[in-house]
């Protein structure tokens, strides 16, 4: 089904194809613009600017609030810039905010998230790329059936499989450990990633594969020597997709880990909700920004590749 999705969305087709990836955004073709200050242009730019304000406002408020002291927040208005800039809330959010007796802020969650994200991204992509390669070039009886199940699985609400996975993890002794969560991310990343790689490898010229076969190269040799080097762009897309997706995960983090291994999102929710006395909105906002920083950085660095990554991720849901 999602395979079909990919085919229908032009952008996604561009993503899955080895060439012509720049085609999707090559050129606008609305009617030709007229004068610079025509009523039409004012309308267009005005609307876009207005909408841009709606999108930027929360980010602005987050930044501004995180730089204010609490007295100023209580008095002032959330949109006004800080009278006196303080980085105290950032320091506090990063290394001092408390959940119970643990007053080491978000830093622990950050490192947990790193420790979860890195192996999850690496493993899930390694597995899915081999899967996709096998599905594209080495079909065997039943391979398509499993693939279809996998794709349908992408649409099943996670809640349905929440508890069975607790049992599976318990049986293999990984429950509560970091590796348990890594496994869960590999499982739920598999449908979309396999799909990505399968379509990509299928779109490569078949002659390449056949020539290598004639030379006597086997399954792994062809994968490592020929397919892997050619698939770099799709690997980048997959990495972007997985890094943001796994970093932002909350549900799995809260269900399958323990406080020691809480990822950053869960810790953020904890810190914001573990109120001691009054809510420290400035610290909360700094913590929120810190948590969002990694995906934001990935976003701003990767630019258009990101669009393809998340478009693929959206199919995952």
């Amino acid at each position: 089904m999602a395979e079909h999705l990919l085919r229908t969305a032009p952008d996604l087709v561009a993503m899955a194809a080895p060439s012509g990836s720049a085609g999707a955004f090559s050129g606008p073709h609305g009617p030709r613009p007229r004068h610079a200050f025509s009523r039409r242009n004012i309308f267009i730019y005005g609307t876009l600017a207005l909408v841009a304000v709606y999108y930027l406002l929360p980010l602005y408020v987050m930044v501004v609030t995180s730089l204010k002291g609490m007295p100023e927040i209580r008095l002032g208005n959330i949109f006004s810039p800080p009278v006196e800039i303080t980085f105290e809330p950032w320091v506090k959010a990063w290394s001092q905010a408390c959940t119970g007796l643990n007053c080491d802020g978000l830093s622990r969650g950050f490192w947990n998230s790193v420790r979860i994200t890195v192996p999850s991204v690496f493993l899930s992509i390694a597995i899915a790329s081999v899967n996709g390669y096998a599905l594209a070039n080495w079909r065997f009886k039943g391979s398509e059936v499993f693939f279809t199940i996998l794709i349908v699985g992408a649409f099943i609400p996670y809640q349905v499989m929440l508890y069975p996975i607790v049992i599976v993890l318990r049986e293999i002794g990984l429950y509560g450990s970091l590796w348990g969560l890594v496994l869960v991310h590999c499982i739920f990343g598999m449908p979309i990633l396999t799909l990505l790689f399968r379509n990509y490898f299928a779109s490569l010229p078949e002659e390449l594969f056949k020539a290598a076969r004639v030379d006597g190269a086997g399954f792994w040799t062809i994968y490592l020597r020929i397919m892997l080097p050619m698939a770099l762009p799709i690997f980048v897309v997959a990495i972007i997709l997985q890094v943001t997706g796994i970093w932002n995960d909350f549900l799995f983090g809260v269900v399958y880990t323990k406080p020691d291994t809480y990822p950053m999102t869960v810790q953020l929710n904890n810190i914001v909700n573990a109120v001691q006395g009054v809510k420290e909105y400035n610290v909360n906002m700094a913590a929120t920004l810190l948590t969002g920083l990694v995906p934001l950085v990935v976003y701003f660095i990767s630019g258009k590749l990101f669009v393809r990554g998340i478009a693929a991720g959206a199919v995952k849901g």
Partner: protein
């Protein structure tokens, strides 16, 4: 190797490496997706409490589920949120994409701005909007300070409109993506069409409405499915923004599942609710798949 040589054992071993490589996929498909789903459905007919146990009670859990006011509220909220989210996402996404497609300057800047919220998690999104919509500090207070004393805008604290407060945050996070998909769709339309429309003197809005949009049907279907399958899973956003409150006014099915499974220690009830979620996804996906695949098959 001739076909006669390929006896039973060797057929099993043929393509062995590919089969070995596919073991993770096969396990995931069978154990997790098929096995896990079947397991949940089976146990939804039991009276499992804290621990799963196989004592069947027929459809008792479902009867209780559909008698629970909170479940009704959750389903109702999901319907309202779902319909509005679909309509607004598509409308805003398309309008923005159409505006972006007018050979404008700073296209990259605008796209960057519209899309960045999508990089943020629902938890982050929920917390930010909780802050903005806080009646004591947020937008309401700011407008009141400007002199409009009776101004009231506290969706998160008003049971009647709380779901719209969540919708505002959800749209903020998600419309950028829809815009991108729509824009890609618009760019996929042949330039000749625009030229022809212009030659025929058809006004721009008519061209969009009667020519371009029908041509973008596949893109609309794709985005529809993307939005719909996301809506059923709405959970983090509600948890971060309202925790389902005020009262039970912003409860959603996904949260009902979690709460009854883990908080109320009534697994059976949680399983029944998640089975209903599964059913709703099937209802969304199957007709679409049937339409799409059925139609294509007829055309060969």
């Amino acid at each position: 190797m001739t076909p006669t040589d390929a006896g039973r054992p060797s057929r099993l071993f043929r393509n062995l490496n590919a089969k070995i490589a596919s073991i993770p996929m096969v396990l995931t498909a069978l154990v997790i997706f098929v096995g896990g789903t079947a397991w949940t459905v089976v146990y939804s007919f039991t009276n499992s409490k804290l621990l799963p146990r196989l004592s069947f009670v027929g459809t008792t859990q479902y009867e209780r589920l559909w008698a629970a006011p909170r479940w009704h509220m959750a389903v109702e909220n999901l319907a309202v949120y779902g319909v509005l989210s679909l309509v607004f996402s598509l409308a805003i996404g398309f309008l923005l994409a159409a505006l972006m497609d007018q050979k404008i300057r700073f296209e990259d800047t605008f796209r960057t701005i519209f899309l960045y919220p999508f990089a943020l998690s629902f938890i982050v999104t929920g917390l930010v909007w909780q802050w903005l919509l806080n009646p004591d500090f947020g937008i309401q207070q700011v407008v009141r300070n400007l002199g409009w004393e009776s101004f009231t805008f506290d969706p998160l604290y008003n049971a009647d409109i709380v779901i719209y407060g969540i919708l505002i945050a959800g749209l903020w996070q998600g419309t950028g993506l829809i815009m991108c998909l729509m824009l890609a769709g618009l760019r996929g339309i042949d330039v000749e069409i625009w030229k022809a429309a212009r030659v025929d003197g058809i006004p721009t809005w008519k061209t969009y409405l009667f020519i371009v949009i029908p041509m973008m049907r596949p893109v609309f279907v794709t985005t529809l499915v993307i939005i719909a399958s996301g809506i059923v899973k709405v959970y983090d956003l509600v948890v971060a923004q309202t925790s389902g409150g005020p009262g039970i006014a912003s409860e959603v099915p996904a949260k009902y599942v979690y709460d009854y499974m883990f908080l109320a220690q009534n697994l059976g009830q949680g399983f029944a609710a998640s089975t209903m979620m599964l059913l709703s996804v099937v209802i969304v996906i199957v007709p679409w798949a049937y339409l799409e695949f059925g139609r294509r098959r007829r055309h060969g």
